[in-house]
């Protein structure tokens, strides 16, 4: 069984007075095809863990293997490349560009990893099909509902066919109907073989995952 990611004794301490220990020795393994939920109250270190997992932040100590490659010793450029090509991000506030059409937003996936524009367009159309928004290509995000916006963001994350879909409170800004739609979409993706990691404080969202881990005071329990 291969691991998509493997964290061993990861510590992240922010310099302050006194120093804030956000992650205090985290061990975590995620298999290919896993659907994992990380739950925890605010201030538990969830965001820091997400940043570390998403290669946006580097731990102070410990080891983080992503698809077998040690990332803590990687150069910034290499890590950025890995982040762009192998990790898909889904954010609580969607982070869509409000002045670009749905299709253009989705085409941003793969922009920085050297995918030619025609190929990105093909993939973006396919990804929008997959999230059920094939009829919304030329809409501006401001004309979409919250659920639709999040599905656009998910499509954008899927364009590069990532090894890991990293979702940070993906339903935090959505009502229950839209939440259900997004969670159904996650189930579909899971069934198609995607590796999903959802960070949330919502128990109902976490309950849909195969596996749940709880983070409290920087430790996985």
């Amino acid at each position: 069984m291969t691991y998509v990611l493997e964290l061993t004794a990861v510590r992240r301490v922010f310099p302050a007075d006194p120093p804030v220990t956000a992650l205090a020795g985290v061990d975590l393994r995620v298999h290919r095809g896993d659907y994992l939920a990380i739950v925890g109250p605010s201030g538990s270190g969830k965001s820091t863990l997400l940043n570390v997992l998403g290669l946006l932040d580097v731990p102070n100590s410990g080891s983080y293997l992503f698809e077998g490659a040690e990332t803590t010793t990687m150069g910034d450029r290499h890590r950025t490349g890995l982040r762009g090509s192998r990790i898909g991000f889904v954010f609580q506030s969607f982070h869509l560009l409000m002045y670009r059409s749905v299709l253009e937003n989705v085409m941003l996936g793969g922009l920085y990893t050297g995918v030619p524009v025609a190929e990105r367009r093909t993939r973006a159309v396919a990804a929008l099909d997959r999230v059920g928004l094939a009829h919304r290509h030329q809409f501006l995000p401001s004309r979409l509902s919250g659920g639709e916006r999040q599905r656009v963001a998910i499509a954008r994350a899927l364009v590069d066919d990532p090894a890991l879909l990293l979702c940070d409170e993906p339903t935090g800004n959505l009502d229950s109907a839209n939440t259900a739609a997004v969670l159904d979409l996650f189930d579909d993706l899971r069934a198609a073989g995607a590796t999903l990691l959802v960070i949330t404080h919502d128990a109902t969202v976490a309950a849909r995952a195969d596996r749940q881990v709880r983070i409290t005071d920087g430790r996985i329990s």
């Binding site: 910034d76 982040r83 090509s85 991000f89 954010f91 560009l97 941003l108």
Partner: protein, 401 residues
């Protein structure tokens, strides 16, 4: 990521806020527009000079011959050399004279009466000239006649007075053959000059003009110190180059030739010094425009913090972010340059129509203006782009959406 993708991203970034972009380019538009208008109007106005060019002054050449360094040195320009100039194609008249040195004018009086109560001696410049002086200086005669080649050859002691000299000496008529005494030697006055059209030789008005042979005999005026040449229209530049060789083949560079400026250099001169103030104004507007672009781009960077974070999360390197914002400010500057150049050219055309001039706009200027605008935008974007590239993706994603 290739260049085309980068440009696409930058252009859609600029197009996202059309109103703001329009306001931002205004500074560059004003700056470039002022520069193009100023330079264009200068070139256009300079081109009109030829139409107003004074045909008369364009034909006058004066050669000043330096005084010999030693009293016994041979003259720099012998009298016989004047004929050499007259033979040059394009010369219509040439004269030469030797003059009493500056400040050492000779006493001249109209009679020999010794009257202790009056000062009869006048200190006047005395010229020994060739007989061609009226033609070459476009001088008219108000009375009598000028001396001719015969007077010169016979070394006749005759004189022609400038109008002011005649007035000072109290001579109004010549039919009674008056005489003037120059340093004690008597000369018969045979003519009085009227007006002297040549503006650079007004000294003739106060002068006593003698045949150079007679002057050489009695007054020892010395060798030629001035040669005045009149040319056919358009020949002045050529003759100015040839005359020193004709006059002093041994040392042409020793002569000081005063020629009228040729129309081309006159035109450039006008274009060069017209409206330096407006050029400065244009440059200032351009700087203000650059500051405007820098300011707005910085605000845009702050506003788009989340977008920067997202792009970093999508795999954008710092370089990509920096280049995108640099390109955006460059595109804004380029737009300003294009609009400004167009506005400037239209202004030049409008001014030309109003003044009934032929508009003259340098193609290089029109083509370079957008480039200057782009350069201004590029410089203005440096700092904001650096700020954008330095953002940490983690912080940026938490920023305002």
């Amino acid at each position: 990521m290739n260049v085309r993708d980068l440009i696409t991203e930058a252009i859609s970034g600029v197009g996202a806020r059309p109103a703001r972009t329009a306001l931002t380019i205004a500074g560059v538009v004003v700056g470039i527009g002022t520069l193009v208008t100023t330079l264009g109007v200068s070139a256009t106005a300079g081109n009109q000079i030829s139409g107003r060019f004074d045909a008369a002054t364009a034909t006058e050449i004066t050669v000043n011959v330096p005084a010999p360094t030693r009293p016994d040195a041979p003259p720099a320009v012998p009298w016989s050399a004047v004929d050499n100039v007259a033979r040059l194609n394009g010369v219509t008249a040439v004269t030469a004279w030797s003059r009493t040195p500056e400040g050492r004018d000779l006493p001249v009086r109209a009679n020999t009466v010794r009257d202790p109560t009056r000062i009869l001696d006048r200190l006047l410049p005395v010229l020994g000239s060739t007989e061609t002086l009226p033609a070459a200086t476009r001088a008219s005669l108000s009375a009598g006649r000028f001396f001719d080649a015969g007077h010169v050859r016979r070394r006749d002691r005759v004189a022609v007075l400038g109008p002011l000299a005649a007035e000072q000496l109290g001579l109004t008529r010549i039919d009674n053959q008056p005489a003037v005494f120059v340093d004690g030697t008597a000369y018969t006055v045979i003519g009085i000059l009227g007006s002297i059209a040549r503006q650079d030789q007004q000294v003739l008005g106060t002068a006593v003009i003698l045949p150079w042979t007679a002057a050489d005999d009695g007054l020892d005026l010395g060798p030629i110190n001035t040669v005045a040449i009149a040319t056919a229209l358009g020949g002045a530049q050529l003759i100015a180059r040839q005359a020193p060789f004709a006059l002093a083949p041994n040392d042409p560079a020793g002569l000081d030739v005063a020629a009228p400026p040729d129309p081309a250099s006159l035109r450039n001169g006008v274009a060069g010094d017209v409206n330096g103030l407006l050029l400065i104004l244009g440059l200032v507007s351009l700087i203000v425009g650059a500051l405007g672009i820098a300011n707005v781009t910085l605000v845009t960077v702050m506003e788009r913090t989340a977008e920067i974070g997202l792009r970093r999360a999508m795999g954008a390197r710092r370089r990509h972010i920096a280049v995108q914002f640099l390109l955006e400010s460059t595109v804004i500057g380029l737009l300003g340059g294009v609009v400004g150049a167009s506005a400037g050219i239209l202004t030049v055309v409008a001014i030309s129509v109003a003044k009934q001039w032929t508009p003259v706009v340098d193609g290089t200027l029109a083509a370079a203006s957008p480039l200057v605008g782009a350069l201004v935008g590029l410089c203005a974007g440096l700092y904001p782009a650096m700020r954008a590239a330095r953002m940490q993706p983690v912080d940026a994603l938490r920023g305002p959406n």
